[in-house]
Structure formats: structure tokens, C-alpha cells
Symmetry: C2
Subunit: 170 residues, 2 copies
């Protein structure tokens, strides 16, 4: 069985935060024009997030993953309002379960889950949208014990807002 | 009196480290071709570093700041082997002292000092050489309590090694 393709598409501050300490994303508002997210989103059939990310996006005015199979890594019961699947276990088992369910291309989101995939060498592509803001505090993209790893830069593009989009192949 | 121009030129890993926990820079070796450092170095007359950076560069085979006035922010006595000046006090007083001594363009280096200048709004230019490596642990560039701050992106350039050079005006 072929392992599903796993990719991430994230915005981070210059000091490496993906959100304020409470998950807040208001600081991204000036940078929310189109940077290829829609095209990226169309390439995936499945979204895999952690519990913390699920709680943040659950508070959004609209569910951001419409039309995709969504799985949440969690050990606790999930009040799934959008057909989300609760999964736990090692990443290999999680990927096998998603693959058996038809997943071919997975959008991995949230600092904890992206870091887990990076640590395990299971991330095929990482798109970093580097926001020209120092936040000072927040939820870091890179979490936990990460082994040293060199990545290949596939592309870089600067936008008029000062956002720089960096695409890496770990 | 005009305040001296203060700029920084740093290499950081994707996870925001400028050195290994012990100050080690060996991971930068594959990326040490010319990225404009020499041209940058020629624009400054003074180097201002913290005690930790001074201890690391003191262990280099050659003193890297030859021909420049070097000041070290420290409260302890300094065994200066290259004519370094030990300075302490608030950044305004330090800048005033350096300016009185003839400094017009200061190269601010090391995570602690760069963060202090950034926090105080005293950094005129920040060049980040983003290395396509996740280090996992090390000395962070951004240290201490930094206020939220938007920066202007002046330029971005990708190099064949995968290094991306980002020049910001805070």
C-alpha cells in the first residue's frame, strides 16, 4: 500500500509562532490575500489536525475544511460537528487507517501534528508563509524534540505585503 | 547627535536557532559561500556583541572583527585580547558612548543583543539568512520579551544551497 502524500501549509511569525497563546490569528489579517492556499487545498482529500487546532477552527465563523475528510488526533472523545473522525495511535497506524479509508493526499495542520510528522520523517512538503511580524509570544510551529534535518528548498516567493512563501521538501 | 545606524546580519535555522546549545556553528558549513556578508561588514565601523557571543568568537581560529572597533555588553571584567571595549548600561547610554567614540554604523550581533535592540526599536536593518535546516535545539535568535512589531521586507533572495536571505527594516 502506498503511503498517502503528507503536506503542510502554514503561516508563521518571524519568531516562529503560528498563533497567539490563545490560538488567535488576528495578526494574520493584513496578510490574508491569496498565496496559493486554495490551489493547495484542492490537492488534498484529507485533513489531519491535532486536538488544539480542532478546538481553534471549531470557533471559526465557518468550518474551514468543507468537502474534505477530516481526522483529529486525540485520545479524548470528540464532539464532532462536521463528520470528523477521532484517531489515536502511532503515526504509521494513523496513516494506514486513513489510507484504508481512501486518503491519498493529506493536509497536516497545527504545530503539534506538523512537528510530529517532521520528526518522524513523514512530511513530504512544508510550505511556510513567513509573516514579517515579530509576535513575541504564541504557539510555536516547531514543538518537542526534533532531530536535526536538512530540507530542500523547492521555491521561494516574496509578496508585496512582505510575506515570503517558502516551499521545502523535508 | 545622530544616533548610529544599527544593523544585524544573522544565519538562523528554520526553527529559529543561531547556534547549537554550546554555540557550535558547524551546521552552517555547507552554507558558507558568499551571501553579501563581506559587503555588509564593510559598511560598519563598529561591532557590538554580548558576552556569550564574545566567548564563542574568542574561540574561533581567527578574530572575525579585524579592523573594527568592537564593544562587548557585559557587567563582568573582560580579558580583551583584541582591543575590545567592555560596556554596560542601558542601550541609549551604550549608543551614546559609541557615538561619542566615533561610531556611525554598528553591526549588532548575537541573539541576546539583537533581541534587545529589536525590543527597544533601535534596529535599523535585520538581514536573516534562513538556513534550510531544522536544528531541534540551540540558542534562539529571538530572546526575552519582545513586543509585537511589524517589519518591512526590503528584499528576499534564494541561493542554490537553499539558503534564503531576507532583509527587513524593523
Amino acid at each position: 500500500m502506498t503511503r498517502p502524500r503528507c503536506s503542510a501549509f502554514l503561516a508563521t511569525s518571524l519568531d516562529g509562532f503560528i498563533a497567539r497563546p490563545d490560538g488567535g490569528l488576528d495578526w494574520l489579517t493584513p496578510f490574508q490575500s491569496e498565496h496559493g492556499y486554495t490551489a493547495f487545498f484542492q490537492t488534498v482529500d484529507t485533513v489531519l489536525i491535532g486536538r488544539a487546532t480542532w478546538e481553534v477552527v471549531g470557533g471559526f465563523p465557518a468550518w474551514p475544511f468543507d468537502g474534505k475528510r477530516v481526522a483529529v488526533l486525540t485520545h479524548r472523545p470528540l464532539a464532532a460537528g462536521h463528520g470528523e473522525l477521532a484517531l489515536s495511535g502511532g503515526l504509521s497506524e494513523v496513516l494506514a487507517a486513513l489510507s484504508a479509508g481512501g486518503a491519498r493526499s493529506i493536509y497536516v495542520d497545527g504545530g503539534a501534528v506538523v512537528s510530529q510528522f517532521l520528526a518522524a520523517g513523514l512530511l513530504d512538503e512544508l510550505t511556510l508563509n513567513l509573516i514579517p511580524v515579530v509576535l513575541g509570544e504564541g504557539i510555536p510551529l516547531f514543538q518537542g524534540e526534533l532531530p536535526e534535518r536538512r530540507l530542500a528548498l523547492a521555491s521561494s516567493q516574496a509578496y508585496p505585503s512582505g510575506l515570503v512563501q517558502l516551499r521545502y521538501r523535508p
